[in-house]
Amino acid sequence: MRQSLIRCVLLSAACVVLCGADWLHFRGSDNRSISTDSLPTAIAKDDSGTDRSVAWKTALPGRGVSSPIVVGGKAIVTSTSGYNQDRLHVVSIDTKTGETEWERQFWATGRTLCHPTSSVAAPSPSSDGKRIYAFFSSNDLACLDLEGNLLWYRGLTHDFPTAANDVGMSASPLAMGDTVIVQVENKGNSFAAGLDAKTGETRWKLPRKADMNWTSPAVLRGKTRAEDLVLLQSPDRLSAHNPKTGEQVWSYEVACSSISSPVAEGDKIYVPSAGVTALRYLPDAKVAEKLWSSNALSPSNVSPIIHQGRVYVLNGSGVLLCGDATTGDVKWKTRLKGPYWATPVIAGDHIYAFNQAGLVQVVKLGDTAGELVATGNFGDPIFGTPAVADGALYVRTDGQLWKIAAP
């Protein structure tokens, strides 16, 4: 019994270490866009056209703006192809070699119209370490194991025909425990739902305001995994729910961004609302209270990042702003070249910002200033936030996946 317990503890520890190395969802395993990994700063093409720190780059079938995830030594990427962009691809790439291990293709069962700057492959995939949940703007959701075996399939527009948005949908799914949460907010059948991770059957479905919304669910960690909540941000509120039942635990009514997503650290939640609005969750009272709000910290299209007591945003003018996470006061700002759609990532003490044109700007984060230490060019549009895993950066350009790591 004791040996079993020890084995169990060791297994759990191994799992934590392994999962810690993975990047399981949009903006990482806690949706926070940060990694403790140390990455090279001289990356992609320099001014002379020389590739730096490029371990490999692999061509993707079709195009997309979704982020890659990394799970169990595999980089998982989605893309779409075809004249009507109705072929949905899920690709698994060996992170060591860059070789494509498997590719699955599906036909969209929902609408595939979207704005030219977006793609039907806009939502990023999500994983619980065992399964992959690949979601698309057509509201098709495929669940595969890590070897590419199809476990289940849902067509949410097929099920609910008016659930669609011809500008394109982009909310990424979020695997939490044994539930996959999807946010399908639009002007038709607008809802959020929790699906059974094993079967794809609907556990809960909540109506949401019939309005266009592109934000993704985010995790609010509890003291234990069983106390984790899922945050759903809509244009008129931020609400927190039990991921397994959908039960609303609290709701904070405020006008929120319909593009950039919330981020939580401990019991604090930073909402893209009137710039950034910081809330504190009070578990005993089951309410969230406002701490501060700062118009100066406007995150535009990207989501805010919280790191070591600071809040970082990239505004619509391409300025990187650093604020005090406890007060919202702006500490410093650095002008970069925008515009941005990809939420940047922080690794070590650097922030990596990828603009729409494919230019990466690496800024060393200081107490009183940010210092631009390197730039690199991927030569292809970048709209998806990169993944960081095992000391490497995985950057998805429109047509390729790049692994960036120290040689």
Partner: protein
């Protein structure tokens, strides 16, 4: 030497023959049984995949069946592909994933795909276009000559994807001829390409090229756009409440009648659009307004009863009736517009048919949300125009422009 009577000999011969027959039968059974059992299994597994339905129904059984089916032999691919013929869109994805998984596995281990069977399946137009295309794509992996041999003969294929490839080849051929100054030959090839082209981008390219040779194309007739309408409005759609309101044109089509509208009495007017893509601009034809509803109706004379598609493009909420039957309703405002955005399926009766369209504008103030228009075409499932028997020849845009310039 023993004598054997002929009768006995015959009996022995018969007995031996019978034994041989039994032995042969047993041998055949031993050889064929696994194949028959395998075929039966594949059939059962395909049936389990085809049983999936809305909201995750049948997923657990399908998941089990998929595991087994993905282990099937490459020789089973045609049988699985045939399952796509009448599969619902969700089941089609389960089947497609099994085909891809089997073919991918076989190629990875260096085995050959059944190229002859795949080619036979590809060329059999009784199968679903998507199934044939899937067979073709794996065929191309097994036989590098397949595309060059097959595609040029597919200009009028029921599969839009095959047509598109065939048109693309003709466009390359025509371009080469044009570069070689063989103008007449190039124009002839462009004309042939136009006959097969159904996708907007290819048609537009061909029209542009032919215009440089001084040739005109009746674009509205090529697509089947409806050009002549009777219009009435505006009725009220304040706060988007008009969608379900039954205004008089939904109950009766009396073209001499006058009804109370949003800002005064309204009556039917005749309208002919000269736009190549059948655009009816209600802001110009009726009144530039917000929070309004309009109706457009036209008659369509069919040579025979046949199933058709009414394909609508509009940024406004809309409904379509065919001969009094509501066949499409979409309450979506300003979320993008694209050719064939909404596809409504119906059946024309022989002789006179009545098409009625309801187009609703909301009260959004943004500059990009002021369009109140629609384009409607009648075609078959391949996008081939179906024209009214009494349709007047429309004036191609180039000719109209020339005429205008001359004036």
């Amino acid at each position: 030497m023993r004598y054997t009577s002929p009768a006995r000999l015959s009996l022995r011969f018969t007995s031996q023959s019978f034994s041989l027959l039994i032995a042969f039968g047993c041998l055949s059974w031993v050889c064929l049984a696994p194949a028959l059992a395998s075929a039966a299994k594949v059939e059962d597994q395909v049936a389990a995949l085809k049983a999936v339905g809305a909201e995750g129904a049948g997923n657990p059984k399908a998941s089990e069946a998929w595991k087994q089916l993905s282990q099937a032999d490459a020789a089973d691919l045609p049988a699985i592909l045939a399952g796509l013929d009448d599969a619902n869109p969700l089941a089609a994805n389960w089947l497609r994933a099994s085909v891809d998984s089997i073919a991918e596995r076989e190629l990875r281990k260096g085995a050959k795909l059944p190229a002859a069977d795949l080619e036979k399946f590809t060329l059999d137009t009784s199968h679903a276009p998507r199934a044939r295309r899937l067979a073709f794509e794996w065929l191309c992996r097994a036989d590098k000559t397949a595309a060059d041999r097959l595609i040029p003969k597919m200009l009028n294929d029921p599969s839009i994807e095959f047509r598109r490839d065939a048109v693309a080849r003709l466009l390359t051929e025509a371009e080469t001829l044009a570069t070689d100054k063989k103008k007449d030959a190039a124009a002839e090839v462009y004309r042939r390409a136009l006959g097969g082209a159904r996708d907007l981008d290819q048609v537009q390219e061909i029209v542009k090229k032919l215009e440089t040779f001084g040739q005109t194309v009746d674009v509205p007739a090529h697509f089947g756009y409806l050009m002549e309408w009777k219009l009435i409005g505006p009725f009220d759609n304040t706060e988007e409440k008009g969608f379900d309101v039954v205004n008089p044109p939904e109950s009766e089509l009396k073209f001499t009648a006058e009804y109370p509208g949003k800002s005064g009495p309204v009556k039917w007017i005749d309208h002919v659009t000269e736009d190549d893509y059948g655009k009816v601009d209600l802001n110009k034809a009726l009144l530039k307004a917000n929070g309004v509803t309009a109706y457009a109706t036209t008659e369509f004379t069919a040579a025979e009863a046949l199933p058709i598609e009414l394909r609508l493009a509009t940024v406004c909420a809309n409904k379509i009736w065919l001969n009094g039957e509501l066949i499409s309703a979409n309450k979506v405002y300003h979320a993008g517009e694209k050719i064939d955005q909404y596809i409504a399926r119906g059946k024309l009766k022989k002789g006179k048919n009545v098409i009625l369209v309801k187009i609703l504008q909301n009260e959004q103030k943004e500059e990009w949300a002021q369009d109140w228009d629609f384009k409607l075409r009648v075609c078959d499932a391949t996008g081939t125009a179906v024209l009214s028997k009494d349709r007047p020849a429309s004036k191609p845009k180039a000719a109209a422009d020339k005429e205008q310039a001359a004036k």
